[in-house]
């Protein structure tokens, strides 16, 4: 500050140079983090697209639509993998959507605070179980106990259904936790308005709270589906068909998903590493996965915008 006589000069309001430098430095650090993330993403997409394109150019197109997925024999029937992924994801959602949403609604609207304090962490622990463990759980428990009971023993030791159920279990905590947050974010004032009009708890939950939270719930479902599509380890362990497999629509037969097929291609094989069509096919599937997830997110976004109740 200057002397008393010219206290109101502009000089006293000027930004100190040291402050300005500190500001600039911080801005640089944060924007560098943003740029680095962007650069990494671009690098990944570039690698993916380059090899995917290389594969697509080189592969005899007839081999992309064939009897099954046998990459080491040059048979790359893509529909085998896509159907496998759809089946696993579908079965997973049959398990995870009702259970996940049910848990979320119970925790947010019905459970006493004391129950919630105990139950919520337990569900979140479920999210922390490594998927490898669930893969073996699928073989040692789900398949012999649940799937066998369901189809009367006509299932194989490794099959798509068991893997799907395990992936579903893996997905429950994501759907439960994200949609519970969405339900709890609905203002108490809306619940009071509903109770004030003589609504019971069930009406309040399904006619007021659930619709108001719908965008968060759709987001939870999309996250869950993306997780199920991307799940690799459980399927690689429990669904069988490691080296490849015939096209099959039977969920009680061994099968392969896109991600599990990619993992299988990489497992300690010197034939594959480096170059060659089989190795490149890995990027092709990866690219397809990327597109599928992207489209899903866009559909979800559109859906949310359409049905959202903004509070």
């Amino acid at each position: 500050m200057s002397s008393d006589t010219n206290r109101w000069e502009i000089g006293s309001l000027r930004l100190a140079p040291a402050r300005r430098r500190a500001d600039t430095r911080m801005r640089l650090i944060f924007s560098a983090a943003a740029v680095a993330t962007l650069a990494i993403s671009i690098l990944i997409i570039y690698t993916l697209v380059k090899d995917a394109w290389g594969f697509f150019i080189d592969v005899p197109k007839g081999d992309l639509w064939n009897i099954g997925w046998f990459p080491r024999r040059g048979i790359f029937d893509i529909k085998t993998l896509i159907l496998g992924t759809l089946m696993v994801t579908g079965i997973a959602m049959l398990i995870a959507v009702p259970l996940g949403l049910g848990v979320a609604i119970y925790l947010s609207e019905f459970a006493a605070p004391r129950v919630r304090r105990v139950l919520k962490p337990i569900i979140e622990v479920l999210a922390g179980i490594p998927s490898v463990v669930l893969g073996y759980f699928a073989i040692s428990f789900i398949n012999p106990n649940i799937i066998t009971a369901l189809v009367g023993g006509s299932n194989k030791a490794f099959n798509v259904a068991a893997a799907g159920v395990a992936v579903g279990i893996l997905t429950i905590p994501i759907i439960a936790s994200v949609s519970e947050d969405a339900l709890r974010a609905v203002p108490m004032a809306l619940r009071e308005a509903s109770y004030g009009l003589g609504a019971r708890r069930v009406s309040t939950t399904f006619r007021v709270v659930f619709p108001a939270a719908i965008s968060g719930i759709v987001a939870a479902l999309i996250l869950g589906i993306s997780r199920a599509i991307g799940e690799t380890m459980v399927v690689a362990i429990a669904a069988g068909a490691v080296g490849g497999g015939l096209f099959s629509t039977d969920p009680f037969q061994p099968g392969q998903t896109m991600t599990a097929a990619m993992a299988a291609l990489g497992f300690g094989s010197d034939q594959v590493a480096g170059s060659g069509l089989a190795f490149q096919s890995l990027f092709f599937i990866g690219f397809l996965l990327f597109v599928i997830t992207l489209v899903l997110n866009m559909i979800g976004d559109r859906l949310v915008r359409k049905v959202r109740e903004e509070y």
Partner: protein
């Protein structure tokens, strides 16, 4: 939550006779709409308000005034058993509604709220269309036919003096209305279930003076059909709109340093603001305190 559990028990068939009694009582008007005796409300160990004895008459506007924390909202929320929603809340003493003990085990809080509506401090329309906001209550009561719902929506909006402003955009979101319109929508939504009583918890505190004036006019319009109890921080508002006024204040507890609300005086509004019997009321209404 034992209270909540019983609150959610549906009315048994034996209670149907009680319902009939309720309406008969309303018609003869021999008993007050609400009568409290020795009413006290606790939140856990904390006693929010004590010893409230008052009779609320039908087809009148009763105002509750007093400084913050005096328990006026707490008492209001006893009348539609909204306090049931707070797990730690506990009610002592008696609250009678047309002579029926509101806190009787056999009384279902949900049935109470269908007869005693509530308008809240902050306008809380559902994030749905204007139409769906109005139709919410009637639908809960099992009305499904479109023409019936249309009629209720229109008449309720007209009675809440909102129809002309929104008739061309009933399908638009209620969230797009101004604050004052939203609050009138909430009143209309309340009217749509044809309650007996409308409780208003500082309904104008989030509104500007023009919107406030419209709500006050509206209250005068509808008081012929509904018993209204309004909690307000605004003494002029109480003086303008109400027939009777209850003044609450806070008292220091003997057992703890937290303050408990008490009812000081309850009388005709005119008397309360011109020659109150209690000096604390006089100090408050003349602005020397609170």
């Amino acid at each position: 939550m034992p209270e909540l559990a019983s609150a959610l028990t549906p009315l048994r068939s034996s209670e149907n006779s009680r319902k009939v009694n309720m309406t008969e009582a309303a018609e003869t008007d021999q008993v007050p709409v609400f009568r409290t005796r020795g009413l006290a409300v606790y939140y856990g160990d904390f006693r929010a308000v004590r010893d409230v004895n008052l009779d609320v008459r039908g087809q009148e506007i009763t105002a509750f005034i007093g400084p913050s924390g005096c328990g006026k909202s707490t008492v209001l929320r006893c009348f539609d058993r909204m306090n049931d929603l707070i797990p730690s809340a506990r009610v002592e003493g008696s609250v009678e509604y047309h002579g029926i003990n509101l806190y009787d085990k056999a009384v279902d809080a949900v049935e109470v709220r269908r007869r005693v509506g509530m308008v809240f401090q902050k306008p809380n329309p559902f994030p749905k269309s204007i139409y769906d906001n109005l139709a919410f209550g009637p639908r809960l009561n099992g009305i499904k036919k479109k023409n019936e719902l249309d009629e209720i929506v229109e008449s309720s909006l007209k009675r809440a003096a909102l129809w002309d402003e929104v008739k061309d955009r009933l399908k638009a979101s209620a969230m797009g209305l101004s604050g004052g319109q939203q609050q009138r929508l909430c009143i209309a939504r309340c009217i749509a279930v044809e309650p007996d009583v409308i409780l208003m918890d500082e309904p104008c505190s989030a509104l500007d003076p023009i919107a406030t004036a419209r709500i006050e006019d509206l209250m005068q319009e509808i008081k012929r059909d509904f018993t209204i109890i309004i909690v307000t921080h605004n003494m002029q508002q109480a003086a303008r709109v109400s027939d009777r006024t209850a003044f609450f204040t806070t008292e220091v507890n003997n057992e703890s340093d937290r303050r408990t609300g008490v009812l000081v005086e309850f009388d005709l509004t005119q008397k309360m603001f011109s020659r109150p019997s209690d000096e604390r009321t006089e100090a408050y209404v003349t602005g020397r305190f609170g």
